[in-house]
């Protein structure tokens, strides 16, 4: 078993060593040096400056809200989809992924067209004599953009996890007298934890680093940490600071790792 396992883990271990770890070392090199190549922690501690800290706080806040919204929207959806006829499954999944086959930039620009002051939605609302909505260039539009773009990342793992739950377990709970609420909180929800965790990291992580959504839908008036890093690379040409701030963001991998380790223990504990 172990020897076979070694063999199985080899391709990815090798791949991640060459294409993830080495590039990561390069980022660390840039992040921990200054222009002259001397060692410095300045690029890391730069996160504490007022602008960066504020950008980070805002990013975390907006991505938490978006992740929560995605979860609240996706969970019922995944449950409904799970209960549908089996032969439709792959079709339904594809329907969720399909919008992503239109280019990301085009889709986000389309939201701009929809949300603008004289945009499509407001034209329809005016036609119906309803008050206009004015969320373009505000944080609300950024949240909308994040939820829109990352919702499929939440739906799919949830759907995956839910459809794996053995119906017999649910039926058994019902037979033993559990009502719907009970069955949900005691059986379905705990069993879907792995899906929830991967959904959360697949939404939270890209939402935390996005900069295109905030500049197109937020009118660039709100500075997110992704915008700061992007600006360091594409406008200021300061790779050192950009890398340093990226390293700080990587702390969130570690937090993520700890979180999933903690939840994982619970998940395994509650499994039959």
């Amino acid at each position: 078993m172990t020897s076979k396992n070694k063999w199985l883990s080899a391709p990815y271990t090798l791949w991640s060593a060459v294409f993830i770890i080495i590039p990561l070392c390069m980022i660390f090199y840039y992040g921990l040096t200054d222009k002259t190549g001397a060692f410095t922690l300045e690029n890391i501690t730069a996160i504490a400056t007022a602008e960066h800290a504020k950008a980070l706080r805002l990013s975390i806040l907006l991505s938490l809200i978006s992740t929560l919204l995605c979860f609240l929207l996706a969970y019922p959806l995944a449950m409904i989809l799970t209960n549908m006829k089996v032969s439709q499954h792959s079709f339904i999944i594809l329907i969720f992924i399909l919008p992503m086959w239109m280019n990301f930039l085009l889709r986000t620009l389309a939201w701009q067209t929809l949300l603008e002051k004289n945009g499509v939605i407001n034209n329809i609302l005016t036609f119906l004599h309803l008050p206009n909505i004015n969320i373009i260039n505000t944080p609300y539009a950024i949240i909308l953009g994040m939820v829109y773009n990352f919702l499929p990342f939440m739906v799919l793992p949830l759907y995956n996890a839910l459809s794996k739950i053995d119906e017999n377990v649910i039926n058994a709970a019902r037979d033993l007298g559990a009502d719907n609420v009970h069955t949900f909180f005691r059986i379905i929800l705990p069993l879907s934890v792995p899906g929830i965790i991967s959904g959360i990291s697949m939404v939270f992580v890209p939402a935390l680093t996005t900069f295109v959504i905030s500049s197109l839908l937020g009118g660039s008036k709100i500075l997110l940490i992704g915008n700061v890093i992007d600006q360091e690379f594409t406008q200021a040409s300061n790779w050192h600071l950009g890398s340093g701030l990226s390293i700080v963001l990587m702390l969130f991998i570690i937090l993520n790792m700890i979180a999933s380790a903690v939840f994982d223990k619970d998940g395994e504990g509650s499994m039959l």
Binding site: Y12, P23, S87, N103, N160, A261
Partner: protein, 266 residues
Amino acid sequence: MKNTAKKIYIALIFLFLYAPIATLMVLSFNASKTRAKWGGFTFKWYTQLIQNDDILKALGNTLLIALLSSVIATVIGTVACIAMNHMKKRTRTVMMGITNIPMLNADIVTGISLMLLFISFGLRFGFGTILLAHITFNIPYVILSVMPRMKQLNPSIYEAALDLGASPFNAFRRVVFPDLLPGILSGFLMAFTMSLDDFIITHFTKGAGVDTLSTKIYTEVRKGIKPEMYALSTIIFLSVLVLLLLVNAAPDKQDPRADKKQASRF
């Protein structure tokens, strides 16, 4: 009653997901070049698209890269999941952490660091370097889709198969693999999709003269996106949709797996 509520809920979500797509489709028939103004109905962008060799070549590159990178990533990712499942928990957590890195890093950081890597390898920038980069950022999506399924697997089924005399490979193929399949498929799709969409990483790892649709679209932003791009998106979207409808309309009988699964439930 309850079913109606469910249907309305799904319909609303679809409206949300497809409103921008509908907008893009409408724009593809817009005679005016700007997205802000309706200039009348036209087919001219479609005819111009067919004559535009650059866009068609980019389309070919995009599809080929997306297909190759997602297939390779799916194989590597799935194998990695199987391996990780047997690892000690701490090792697995570390591996999962590493897996998250390409997702967490801002694209531009990943893009530039891969560019530096390829330079130090002395690789010639072109199709191959884009492919390597895409495989790299695709693997995490596969792993994150397959891993939850993996964790839900009941290991005793696999062991039971072994006990009943199946070879490890057969036990895997007949017992474990079917259960993983939905995760593998959605991982593959996700990888394919991410590859279609990527711009920044592609930009830094491509060579002169090799373009994908994304790099074409992003460089067009400065002078206004050509409506041909809307037309192309519409065509891609519609053809996939038609394909899906056809597959779905085909009788259920060709899906023995589903039957088996259903049978096993009762």
